[in-house]
Symmetry: C2
Subunit: 232 residues, 2 copies
């Protein structure tokens, strides 16, 4: 068991389901949770299993992915500080539909299934936040579907780079603050690793990004947006 995490930190995240929750509600959660951590590369939940609880990521980064044909990963989205993990399966009462693996050492709070339901029942506000959250994710998934179905690989890559940048921010040198292999980027974009590599090099030659090793920095967002055709 790790040092307990302060729930107020998660509450501060405006996208968190705990945002704007009453002190009582927060206390209730604080008492029901336990703290866990995961090493880089460790699988947190995996497809097909029956989940026993929900994780709230305190610090770290996690990829959520399904396994497609021949075990190939399709990354659905990333999960980071203040985000919940595993709630979909519990709330829909279905087996877990996506695996999650820590991309770096990750600390999280674990809320057992029964406690999670209790919090939902005791706090209409939280319940509504969860509804809002899942509906928001549903909208994001719809965008991803349209993107995969209609855009070519270069457009999708530009889109993903913009998303990664806004999700994870930048380090002191301006590089996107996430450590992904080219293969993982390909698994988000939905293409072959080599294609991603070629297109990254193309974007670099065009001066829209720069890269050092596996790290990437955006140099010209507006052109990237134009390529991604993100009208929003």
């Amino acid at each position: 068991m790790d040092t307990p995490h302060n729930c107020q930190l998660c509450q501060k995240q405006p996208t968190s389901a705990f945002h704007d929750l009453s002190a009582d509600g927060l206390n209730e959660i604080s008492q029901l949770k336990t703290c866990v951590s995961f090493k880089k590369g460790q699988v947190i939940i995996h497809e097909g299993a029956r989940p026993q609880g929900v994780y709230c990521i305190h610090r770290g980064k996690v990829k959520l992915y399904t396994l497609g044909t021949e075990g190939k990963e399709q990354i659905i989205r990333f999960i980071t500080s203040g985000d919940l993990l595993g709630y979909r399966s519990i709330l829909s009462d279905e087996p877990i539909s996506a695996s999650a693996t820590a991309l770096e050492d990750t600390h999280a709070c674990y809320i057992p299934k029964s406690s999670f339901f209790k919090v939902i029942q005791d706090n209409p506000k939280f319940s509504l936040n969860m509804l809002k959250l899942s509906c928001h994710e549903l909208g994001e998934a719809g965008k991803m579907i349209t993107s995969l179905a209609q855009k070519n690989v270069k457009e999708r890559l530009a889109e993903i780079l913009l998303i990664l940048n806004s999700t994870f921010g930048e380090d002191e040198e301006g590089y996107i603050d996430i450590n992904l292999t080219r293969e993982e980027i390909a698994n988000m974009v939905g293409t072959a690793t080599e294609s991603v590599i070629r297109l990254i090099s193309e974007l670099r030659k065009e001066g829209l990004i720069r890269s050092k090793g596996k790290r990437i920095a955006l140099e010209n967002r507006s052109s990237l947006r134009q390529i991604a055709a993100v009208y929003e």
Copy 2:
């Protein structure tokens, strides 16, 4: 205004959010709703708008789609008897992310936004059902993402045909009971109309399906499942 619909019909649908709702809850909804109908081809909600209420489809079939590059439709899913329409946007408090058009004459109940929230607040059971529903949809969306990213067009087509068959059932001649153009099928599969036509003809030659005009019947599901690589 149309003849009022009987909410008990929708309540019977096992996938409906009204399923298993108390008589009181059902009465509350019955009193807040109004009834509307849409002609074939009529747009019910459209992308970018701010929704003022939720529709519960009583009878008819509706396609839900986003508009991608150059206005091309990407069909996300279909909505039919007992299903809700427009709740995502209302619950996430975002503009509507997908348009909906009636595929045939459709009758629905309309529940204004404020009433919908009232029902949610008054009926924890309903609120939980909505959570369950949106989380289920989230899982389906994830499957669709993986499918689009990793399967080829023929595999996706086989998958869609199986989904259409189980969603809409069959008419007396065994054809899938939904009237879609080849273009609409292409807009689900995420490909060009011509590609869908070629592959439908290929599946016909292989004896896996038969077709009459635009109607399609499945002849060999297990082979279709194998092509679709649906391991579930």
